[in-house]
Each structure stands twice: as C-alpha cells, then as structure tokens.
C-alpha cells in the first residue's frame, strides 16, 4: 500500500489502540545504577561547560561499573597493545597508523563518521614497514595525542596502558573486529566475573580479549589461555 498523505488512514479501534499504547508504555524501568550514572555524566558535562577551572574531556564521566562503551575502550587498548607487540604474530609488526587512530566519531551531538575498513587496512599495511620499536611505556595524554602515542609504539607486556580515547580508537577497533571477528564468543564466566570475545586479527592470529566486569581490567590471552598482555581498564 502506498502512502497517500491526503487521506485519513484506516486505524485501529479504540480498545485496540488502547491495548497497543498500554503495551508500548509498559517499558521496563532503567537499571538504577545506570540511570544514576547517566545523570552523573550529564551533570559532569554541565560542570565542564560552566567551570572554567575544570579540565575538559572529550568523553563524559563514565560510571564506575564498566558500561559497554567502557568495555570497548578497554578492548581497544588491549588490541592496540597487542598488535604493537611481537607476540604470537611471528615477528610481524603491524602497527596501526596514528593517522588512522586520529579519526573517530564525536561523543557529542552530530553526525558520526567511522573510518572505512578498507582505509584502515591500507593504513595498517603502510605502517607495517615503518613502525618504530620503543621500550618505554607511553605517557597517557588526552585525546588524539594519546591515541597517536599508543598506536605508534611497542609496549612492554606488563606496561600500564592508559585507555586510549574512545573517540579516536573506537572506529578503528570496530573495523578491525568487524573484519576479523570469528570463532565462538567466550560468554560470561560468572565464577570469575570475566567476559570475553575471541578475535582473529588480520595476521590470522587468534586472541581472546577478556574484560573483568567489575573493574574493567583487560587481559588478552592466546587460545591456550596463556596471558599475552594485561592492563588496567578505565
């Protein structure tokens, strides 16, 4: 049936409409912790706007309990560390380009512009030959500079990894996972409180990124369960 905007549409009977509306309005209540966290984040944004002394941040205050977005931040940090390390990757250095990591989506209102996967792939290939090899862990900074630092350096396995800016890394991670994700999900281990996801990197290596629910700690393990790298989460 094509739309005919000038005609009154045939609609439900009153009792049917009431039934539908009742069902629509029967929305499950938001988790109280998440509701409070959202409110806190919004008020923190207000404080940022109206407190000149407050340091600006590109991302809103996150709840202590890692949200899904925080999970991605932790996973992004772990994957960036992972691909920068000569671990199970047979000596290959595939360091994402800092240029790639610098592109991202804004957390404020507006259009989102994720980086195209093909472009990321090309950037990774280009960066492979010129990836610098450093031993010192990066100094956490804010915004794109932080992402550039993490993307361009090799990190010690036990280095404290400051979570990169979600804005800059999320699209890269999305594209990487979208292209490479395979294998079964690990699910949630209620006994240990970890959740995980198996990823197949472009190199073909399979790793498992696990996040501890309560603390946001991230660990990356190989398929045999041996720890590859770990870091603290946000």
């Amino acid at each position: 049936m094509t739309e005919q905007p000038d005609r009154e549409p045939q609609d439900l009977l009153p009792d049917e409409l009431d039934e539908l509306r009742s069902a629509l309005r029967d929305v499950p209540a938001q988790n109280e912790l998440r509701a409070r966290a959202a409110l806190s984040a919004a008020l923190a944004a207000h404080d940022e706007i109206h407190s000149p002394a407050a340091s600006r941040s590109d991302t809103p205050t996150r709840p202590m309990r890692p949200s899904r977005s925080a999970w991605w931040v932790s996973a992004a940090a772990a994957v960036v560390v992972l691909v920068s390390l000569p671990l199970v990757m047979n000596g290959r250095d595939e360091t994402p380009s800092s240029e790639t990591a610098a592109t991202g989506r804004s957390s404020s209102d507006g259009a989102e512009s994720p980086v195209a996967p093909n472009r990321i792939s090309a950037d990774l290939d280009d960066a492979a030959a010129s990836a610098p090899e450093l031993t010192d862990p990066p100094v956490p900074t804010s915004g794109a500079a932080e992402a550039d630092t993490l993307a361009g350096e090799n990190l010690a396995a036990t280095a404290m990894v400051a979570p990169p800016d979600l804005v800059t890394l999320a699209p890269w991670l999305d594209a990487l996972i979208t292209r490479g994700s395979s294998g079964p999900d690990l699910g949630c281990d209620l006994d240990t409180g970890w959740i995980g996801e198996r990823l197949t990197l472009e190199s073909g290596d399979v790793v498992e990124i696990q996040v501890e629910i309560e603390t946001g700690h991230v660990r990356v393990v190989d398929p045999e369960g041996c720890s590859v790298v770990s870091s603290t989460g946000p």
């Binding site: 609609d11 009977l13 984040a41």
Partner: protein, 209 residues
C-alpha cells in the same frame, strides 16, 4: 527536600534558562524530571537495555550541552524527546556497524520473562516487532503513542507532512497490533473476536492535532 520542592515549582522553560546560565540544581531537576521518558523513548527505539542505556546517557549529555541553544520555538519536552530520539537512532546506527558483544549472561539489565505473565510477554514481543518496523515508522509510533506528541510536532521534528505522519502511524500501529494479536492467540488458543478495523475513512481514536 527543599531543593527538590524549589525545582519542582519551576517550569521546564525556566529550568532550561537557569541551567544554561550554570544553575546545576536546575539542570539536575530538569534531567530527573524527564529522564524516565528519555529512557522509555530510547528503550523502545533501541529495543534492548544496553543500547538504550548508552543512548540515554548520550541524550542527557546532549540536552545539557544544548541548553544554551534552546530558543523556545518548540515545547521544552518536544525538544528533549527529539534529542532522545536522535540519540537512540544514532546508537542504533552505530550498533549496526559493529557486531554485538558477548552474551551478557547474568547482566542485571537483561530481563527474565516469568512464565505466564502476559504483560511482560507483550513487552518482550513488542521489542522485536518494533525492530521489524522501518526506522521512520518506528519513530512515528513511539513519538505518538509513547511520548504523546501531536501530529504537527512529529511532522516538524521529522520534517515530513502531517499526512505522512498519520499514514506511517496507521501502518505501524496495524503491524504492531497484529503481532500482539498473534501472541494473544498463541497464549490462549482463541482467535480474537471479530472487530471491524476498517471504517469509511474516519480516523478512529485519534486526537485532533
């Protein structure tokens, strides 16, 4: 309690004006007042708790950041729920670009449906039914039948003619009600009684815009 009483006496417009000038209490009151509906809009548009949580938080932040730019051309509530709807749709599009994370087994946001609870079952059935609707139909039915926006407000928000709003709303309602009706048959085994759904063109049950 005095703080809340003072806040509760102010209109949305007053709270927005005060909040844009840095009145944190006003912002707090404004957000608390509308957060339940913002959540409801996001929950219905996103279809799951996790996405709705992210969308709700983003919506509240956008509201705060947008306070100085509110010009009063629309009702404050319309402006707020427009932001909520946009945040929800942005979250949906972002989610479509990435695979869903692992099953959140044991996550307190995941609903468990008690057997035999028709109201809860309706809610669980409605979520996938809403996701089946095209985005533009889903928006219209949520904004009208959940938020109670007028046709003209929805038309202005979506930048479409009022007639298109009515048309999309009608089709969305019929599709959703058909899902509820099928679920009722499944539960009871009885076919719903005959009810003429079509009239000679009169828009039954609609408020005038």
């Amino acid at each position: 309690m005095t703080r809340r009483s003072q806040g509760a006496n102010r209109t949305d417009a007053e709270l927005i004006a005060a909040g844009s000038q840095g009145d944190r209490q006003a912002v707090d009151e404004l957000l608390r007042r509308h957060q339940p509906m913002v959540w409801a809009v996001c929950r219905r548009l996103c279809g799951d708790d996790e996405s709705a949580n992210d969308a709700t938080q983003n919506a509240l932040i956008r509201i705060v950041r947008g306070l100085p730019s509110f010009e009063g051309r629309s009702k404050p509530s319309t402006w707020i729920y427009r932001i909520a709807a946009n945040a929800a749709m942005d979250e949906l599009r972002a989610r479509a670009r990435r695979p869903r994370p692992t099953d959140m087994v044991g996550d307190p946001d995941i609903e468990t449906v008690p057997l035999g609870d028709d109201a809860v079952e309706d809610r669980m059935i409605l979520d996938p039914a809403l996701r089946e609707l095209p985005e533009e139909f889903r928006l219209v039915v949520v904004l009208r039948d959940l938020v109670d926006l007028e046709y003209t407000e929805i038309a202005d928000l979506l930048e479409i003619p009022v007639g298109t709003v009515r048309s999309r709303l009608s089709r969305a309602r019929r599709q959703l009600y058909r899902v509820l009706g099928d679920a009722s048959v499944t539960r009871t085994g009885n076919l719903p009684g005959p009810s003429p759904r079509h009239t000679d063109g009169v828009d039954i049950g609609e408020r005038s815009s």
